[in-house]
């Protein structure tokens, strides 16, 4: 996890707001470094994590997490991490074999128009399964759902409305009912246009998720172009604040991704500049 990002969000693994829906988004950039941050953050916070890794293999996340000081293999063995490896599961759907796991989570690949109800059932069973009854089962904290990423579902033929329904149900179960947290990544390609409804729905998906969430982190490249020492900018926007009447608060930071982490700084204060 990145300590500077923790101080920006005012969270630590020991105390963080529960019931939050954090939306990570990027436009012509790559926000997946934030997914690694939240994965290691919630594992360190001893939460039960359900990770839907739809775009990369398990070994990729494991390799990056090891550099951040967390072992995913150990977490999986202890039962803290439930990992859905979308790439291999989809193979078992497309090429039916005798030894298939019987996991119905990726069944939407057979018929995308059906929607993501089976994926939601998988998520619900993962976060509500308690380790009670087993000897030596550890007590984990509130459940956390991480999805990397939702735009892959759009490109697999699922409609934006179905993805919004899926995220709504996940929020109702994970955030509201179980007081856990949810982190989802959505990626956009083109420029932000007002009335563009033909782009496969990624703009509609982003807007719909922005309405649902309580915190957004939007990653973009620098408006001035490529820079070797500053990889881009992150706009942090706090949406729903309970009880204090404040509506939205926005802050803009620049970041640089290193080998073992990422550093965040206010605009213009990069160590290369000062």
């Amino acid at each position: 996890m990145y300590t500077e990002l923790n101080s920006i969000l005012s969270t630590t693994p020991d105390s963080f707001t529960q019931g939050e829906f954090i939306l990570l988004s990027d436009r012509k950039s790559d926000a997946s470094f934030l997914i690694h941050h939240f994965l290691s953050f919630y594992l360190r916070a001893r939460c039960k994590v359900c990770f839907l890794g739809l775009v990369q293999s398990f070994s990729h996340y494991n390799a990056v997490s090891q550099r951040l000081g967390i072992s995913l293999i150990q977490a999986k063995e202890k039962g803290q991490l439930i990992f859905l490896e979308g790439l291999t599961e989809s193979l078992s759907v497309l090429i039916p074999q005798v030894t298939s796991t019987g996991n119905e989570a990726m069944d939407f690949l057979r018929d995308p128009s059906v929607g993501l109800r089976s994926l939601y059932d998988f998520v619900r069973s993962s976060v509500t399964s308690s380790g009670g009854g087993e000897e030596g089962a550890e007590e984990w904290g509130p459940p956390v759902l991480l999805v990397d990423d939702l735009s892959a579902l759009l490109s697999l033929g699922v409609s934006a409305g179905a993805v919004l329904d899926f995220s709504h149900y996940c929020q109702a179960t994970v955030c509201s009912q179980l007081q856990g947290n949810m982190v989802m990544l959505v990626r956009c390609d083109g420029e932000e246009e007002e009335d563009d409804w033909d782009d496969g729905g990624s703009e509609l998906l982003l807007k719909g998720l922005t309405h649902q969430c309580s915190l957004t982190l939007h990653v973009q490249g620098l408006p001035t172009g490529y820079c070797r020492d500053i990889h881009g900018q992150v706009e942090v926007c706090w949406r729903r604040r309970q009880g204090d009447g404040q509506n939205t608060q926005k802050k803009l930071f620049q970041y640089k991704v290193h080998d073992k982490g990422a550093s965040f700084f206010a605009r213009g204060t990069s160590s290369a500049v000062l």
Binding site: R117, Y120, G161, L164, D165, H168, Y169, A172, S176, Q177, D195, W197, L204, K207, G208, T210, H211, Q212, R239, R240, Q242, G243, D244, G245, Q246, N247, T248, Q249
Partner: protein, 296 residues
């Protein structure tokens, strides 16, 4: 106009709060619910987008028992075995039955959070039909709906807003916690009133209207930004008296091609120099032929 709308909608009124991803309109919706509860009216909320705890958060007081929350948040599509309220039950009969369940002497106010959720699953024409029937029927006194304008096509937004008697479009204001509300109100006589106000919602959900915004794009001009006189406070005099101003106006500038100069050049007067030229043999120099001036 915003406080007037908060005071109460007429019977058969339909108010829409339009918001976008930049500014959440739910706080304004809560202000309306709060104002209705203070007027001792019964409020029925169809909650699709937020849970009951989140909606009741901030609504304090003893009259919150008049707020009836119908839970359409946990299972709006019927994916579980016993859904409380699904989106497909958004019809006149179901809603009338729902509102009549709580026996109240006068009809209640129906709050829909949000219309966008319903419009994603039910066709806009069916939604408009149900809303119109609700308006005309006597089951509810007024309807207040939240609509996310950036999630639908303009035609859909326009159709639903056409049914409304008042539309409030909220957008982020210049300062952090302020919002700008553009209000359109249609009265029963057919008169349309429009207004634009900057507002702020306090912690107890009362709306404070700050001021009217100035024209689009410019900030409020500061009072000390008057024209400063550059000729004041100098050690020399830069001002002109009236006679000096006259003389300045009459002065002919040296390189201006005026009419008098033009006539003087075209018609040369008597006694001006004339040039007589007789071609000389030496002047006949042909550059092509260097030997042209040899007298051979």
């Amino acid at each position: 106009m915003l406080p007037e709308l908060l005071q109460g909608t007429d019977a058969g009124g339909f108010l829409i709060i339009q918001d976008s991803a930049g500014y959440c309109g739910r706080h304004v919706l809560k202000s309306f619910i709060h104002a209705a509860l203070n007027r001792e009216e019964a409020v029925h909320v169809l909650g699709f987008e937020v849970s009951e705890e989140e909606l009741r958060d901030g609504l304090k007081g003893s009259h919150t028992q008049r707020l009836h929350f119908h839970n359409a948040f946990t299972d709006p599509l019927g994916w579980s075995d016993h859904p409380a309220f699904t989106v497909h039950r958004f019809t006149l009969e179901e809603l009338t039955h729902l509102v009549k369940q709580t026996s109240q002497p006068k009809p209640a106010i129906l709050v829909i959070d949000s219309l966008s959720w319903i419009l994603r699953h039910v066709s806009p024409s069916a939604v408009c039909q149900t809303l119109q029937q609700l308006k005309k029927g006597g089951a509810v006194r007024a309807i207040i709906g939240l609509l996310h304008a950036d999630m639908h096509q303009r035609g859909t937004v326009g159709s639903v807003c056409h049914l409304a008697t008042s539309v409030i479009t909220v957008a982020p204001g210049i300062k952090g916690d302020e919002g700008v509300a553009k209000i359109t109100k249609r009265s029963k006589s057919g008169k349309v009133m429009q207004d634009e106000e900057i507002f702020n919602i306090k912690e107890d959900l009362t709306v404070v209207v700050q001021s009217k915004p100035s024209h689009i794009g410019s900030k409020q001009p500061d009072t000390d930004e008057q024209e400063t006189d550059p000729t004041a406070n100098l050690t020399f005099n830069l001002r002109l008296s009236d006679t000096e101003r006259e003389a300045k106006g009459k002065l002919a500038l040296p390189f201006v091609f005026s009419k008098e100069k033009k006539t003087a050049l075209l018609h040369s007067g008597p006694g001006s120099g004339r040039i007589l030229y007789e071609p000389d043999a030496n002047d006949d120099y042909d550059q092509e032929d260097p030997d042209d001036d040899l007298d051979v």
